[in-house]
């Protein structure tokens, strides 16, 4: 599988995380794992990129994080999408659609 350029990865990361959190609240490891699984390993977050990004989203009030105690007694910081975060998904999707459309026009590649 061809590796995706780091800049594109970074740009698309917020959209991927917000979309995942729109379905249900998750903690950091679950977010990384689900993104990796759902993209077949093309998008893979290391801790250095995932957690600063999650905290940035939290500062923007797009996500809300709370410590929760799991049934096994462990504490995990669970991220939940806020109403403000939910509103960001559509514009971000439109932005990425426009980007891919533009790229398609230039390079002539078609979505699979």
């Amino acid at each position: 599988m061809a590796s995706v350029n780091a800049q594109i990865k970074r740009g698309s990361a917020e959209l991927a995380v917000l979309t995942l959190l729109a379905e249900h609240p998750l903690h950091g490891y679950e977010i990384a794992k689900q993104i990796e699984e759902q993209t077949g390993g093309v998008l893979r977050f290391d801790m250095a990129s995932l957690y600063p990004m999650l905290h940035r989203l939290e500062r923007k009030s797009w996500v809300n994080a709370q410590w929760q105690t799991l049934p096994n007694g462990r504490r995990r910081r669970c991220y939940r999408l806020t109403a403000s975060g939910r509103k960001q998904i559509a514009p971000l999707r439109a932005e990425w659609r426009a980007f891919f459309q533009a790229l398609q026009n230039v390079t002539g590649f078609q979505n699979a």
Binding site: G28, Y29, M47, A48, Y51, P52, R56, R74, R75, R77
Partner: protein, 218 residues
């Protein structure tokens, strides 16, 4: 199961000091990762090595850099610069006020020069003020410390620039006495106006931290 909290505390001491919550979150991530690898059938040793690899070497450096970048640069103006500048202004006004009312704060000697003990003694208050102002906006320990240290950083930069210009000019006039005077002041000014104020400001941050923690507990 390895104690990931302790490992993170040891390997990422900076993060642990600046943001214990963030460090705890990383420890939880590593714990989950380790367990997942074990479930995949890897031996405890291999799983441990692979997991710890995420906070070692280049990964560790990158993690700290990204954390500092996010913490210090996001909301820099409101969380660090404004509280820091207010602290600087307050400390400077106080210093000028002492000079105007002819109170001689020069009571101790350091490296052959006289320095302002009274001014230093009150700097923790300004450090704490900067930290508390920053806390109202940011609530991050690192940002509070940066806000309290900003006055010393500004002074440090100014002193450095003055010396660079001074040395350059004295080089042009080839005046050995002037060079000597600059060297002498280099031993007095940075410790007196940069390092010691920084230490006293950090002391103020510590006091603010303790008082905030106590009020929370109460």
């Amino acid at each position: 199961m390895p104690n990931w909290m302790q490992i993170v505390r040891k390997k990422l001491r900076v993060l642990w000091i600046c943001s214990p919550g963030f460090a705890e979150e990383l420890a939880a991530h590593l714990e989950d990762r380790y367990e997942a690898l074990r479930c995949e059938g890897l031996s405890a040793d291999v799983a441990f090595q692979r997991t710890i690899g995420q906070i070692e070497g280049r990964c560790r450096v990158w993690l700290v850099i990204r954390f500092l970048q996010e913490e210090l640069m996001s909301g820099y103006i409101t969380k660090i610069a404004l509280p820091g500048l207010l602290t600087s202004a307050a400390a400077f006004v106080f210093y000028c006020a002492l000079a105007l009312v002819h109170i001689q704060p020069r009571v101790i000697w350091l490296l052959g020069g006289q320095l302002s003990l009274w001014w230093w003694c009150l700097l923790p208050i300004y450090g704490a003020l900067g930290a508390l102002l920053s806390q109202r906006k940011g609530r991050s320990r690192l940002q509070r410390m940066a806000a309290a240290l900003l006055p010393s950083t500004i002074l440090g930069t100014s002193v450095l620039m003055i010396f660079v210009v001074g040395f350059t000019m004295s080089g042009f006039v080839n005046h050995y006495q002037l060079v000597f005077a600059r060297l002498e002041s280099l031993g007095i000014v940075p410790p007196g106006f940069v390092l010691m104020p920084a230490a006293f400001s950090v002391l103020g941050v510590g006091i603010a931290e303790i008082s905030t923690k106590k009020s929370r507990l109460a």
